[in-house]
């Protein structure tokens, strides 16, 4: 096993550990912090896969902004004591985990891996490449997504104003 494989599997083990902690920790703030750790490790995976731009954006958007808002809500509502687990919930989660695991493993074993998985050019994963794709080929979906976000912001402000 070369160094890259060792790093990959140790990171993967960490990621699975952190993700399990998100689900199984009783304290909501602890779960949120475990989720931050998991998102951070995913960002490291993006960097290893030669996409540092996506990795950095992952930290910036998910770990740095969205999770802070999660924590905000948890703290304001003081949701520290989680409610007891329900059995129906657990069995539902178990069944869906098994189904998802089955589908994923079926997909992984069915498809042939690409002959040369790292066909990385100089520009691969660079901001230039990303911008060229985003603003030429996908400019319409990009703009629609930004309008969608704007609608969501305006909607949130309207709802907040009506309450007061």
């Amino acid at each position: 096993m070369d160094v890259a494989t060792v790093i990959f599997f140790s990171l993967a083990a960490l990621l699975i550990g952190a993700s399990l902690l998100v689900v199984f920790l009783r304290n909501v703030v602890h779960s949120a912090m475990a989720l931050v750790a998991a998102l951070f490790i995913i960002a490291v995976f993006f960097v290893i896969l030669q996409a540092p731009m996506v990795g950095v954006l992952q930290v910036l958007v998910y770990a740095g902004a969205i999770m802070v808002l999660f924590l905000f809500v948890i703290m304001f509502l003081n949701l520290t004591a989680s409610e007891p687990r329900r059995r129906a919930w657990l069995s539902f989660a178990g069944v869906s985990t098994l189904l998802l695991g089955g589908v994923l493993s079926a997909m992984l074993t069915q498809t042939e891996p690409a002959a040369d998985p790292v066909a990385a050019t100089e520009l691969f994963g660079s901001p230039e490449m990303l911008a060229r794709n985003l603003f030429n080929d996908f400019v319409l979906p990009f703009e629609i997504a930004s309008v969608l976000l704007l609608v969501a912001i305006v909607g949130a402000v309207v709802l907040a104003k009506r309450g007061s």
């Binding site: 931050v36 540092p52 740095g64």
Partner: protein
């Protein structure tokens, strides 16, 4: 392979060593500087064998020893694990941001070229913002884990303030990215090595005699962006006039009210490390980074004619020295600011961030875009 690894390790060690020690010395500058401003003597009591050294002994040796030997109090109703983790998370971002800040151009030893930057990322500036955005956790988690109303209020204030000013900070940098056309901090520093004369479009060449001799530093090309960025950076360090998260008169000490001993020292050191980081970022983005005006790779070339050739090591030494001096200047400026202006009210902080800095940053982006299109 081994040599490459050793070079990276050495660069990382040197940068961390400089930042942490500078943070310590800034503690002394803050105490003596505030004493100077307020017409006091300042720290002068501790001495080693009769040597008091202008109070330097206090802040560099006596204070840390005192912090480390004090009782480490954890609130019984608080969260032990997160209470311990929070100071580490507060110190972490300010230190790792330095990985992408270039402190010199390329150093050549024999055949080996050493880029004077710990990690050369092509998304350097985004990395800076990603790591800075993690700085919120130290405050929020520390505040929550203390299980104290004052600290929780401080933490909520701190996180709201940091998120608000991150947006203004990010938008103010966009102008710089448009002018130099890269996200790589080393390339931004290199881009500031030319003269404004060479960047002027045809229609504006009559300005060449007036400002053409200036180096193409960010502050000359993007003066508004510099003011916005510096204001937002000071707000991110949570110091006066933006120290509402601590606000002694209302919140006792805000998010670190339940911290003592070594953990408080980490918050304290984190604040000074943030000052150094902010100074280094302002230097790199707006004041040429390691550039010395008119210094090229092999010596000075003055715009009014004449040149002065220098050996390679002298050029690199001048660059690293210039970077250090600029960083020290902005550290000092932040400390001067902290002891010169009063604290804002919280609504004023929010209004400044959202209603002044954010629209101005957007206007700056728009004007920059129009100028670039007009110049083409």
């Amino acid at each position: 392979m081994i040599v490459d690894f050793a070079i990276i390790a050495a660069k990382a060690f040197i940068v961390l060593f400089m930042v942490l020690n500078l943070a310590g010395i800034l503690g002394w500058i803050e105490r003596k500087g505030s004493a100077l401003i307020q017409d006091r003597i300042g720290a002068n009591r501790a001495s080693i064998f009769g040597f008091a050294g202008l109070g330097l002994v206090n802040t560099l040796i006596a204070d840390p020893l005192k912090f480390l030997t004090k009782e480490d109090f954890i609130p019984p109703a608080g969260d032990k694990f997160l209470h311990t983790l929070a100071p580490c998370m507060a110190l972490f971002p300010a230190l790792v941001i330095f990985a992408v800040i270039p402190f010199g151009d390329v150093l050549q030893i024999g055949d080996r070229l050493i880029n004077l930057q710990v990690a050369n990322l092509n998304v350097g500036i985004l990395y800076v913002f990603a790591m800075a955005s993690l700085g919120v956790y130290g405050i929020v988690i520390g505040a929550w884990a203390s299980n104290n109303k004052f600290s929780l209020l401080g933490g909520v204030r701190g996180s709201a303030q940091m998120i608000s000013y991150e947006i203004a900070m990010g938008l103010s940098v966009i102008g710089i990215l448009m002018v130099y056309g890269t996200l790589d901090l080393q390339e931004i520093a290199r881009g500031q090595g030319t003269l404004i004369r060479e960047l002027l479009p045809q229609g504006l060449s009559f300005l060449g005699g007036l400002v053409g001799w200036l180096p193409a530093w960010g502050v000359f090309l993007q003066p508004l962006a510099f003011l916005l960025f510096f204001t937002a950076a000071v707000a991110e360090t949570k110091r006066i006039p933006f120290d509402l998260p601590e606000g002694e008169s209302e919140l006792v000490a805000g998010y670190h009210v339940e911290y003592s001993g070594g953990k408080f020292l980490m918050f304290f050191a984190g604040e000074f490390a943030e000052i150094v980081t902010a100074a280094a970022l302002v230097t790199t983005l707006f004041f040429g980074g390691w550039q010395v005006p008119y210094l090229m790779r092999d010596g000075f070339y003055f715009p009014w004619g004449g040149q002065w050739l220098l050996p390679h090591l002298a050029v690199v030494g001048l660059q690293v020295g210039a970077f250090t001096l600029k960083v020290l200047f902005f550290c000092w400026l932040q400390i001067l600011l902290r002891w010169s202006v009063p604290r804002f009210r919280y609504d004023q902080v929010m209004r400044l961030g959202w209603k002044m800095l954010l629209p101005l940053a957007l206007v700056n982006v728009l004007i920059t875009a129009l100028m670039i299109v007009a110049a083409q």
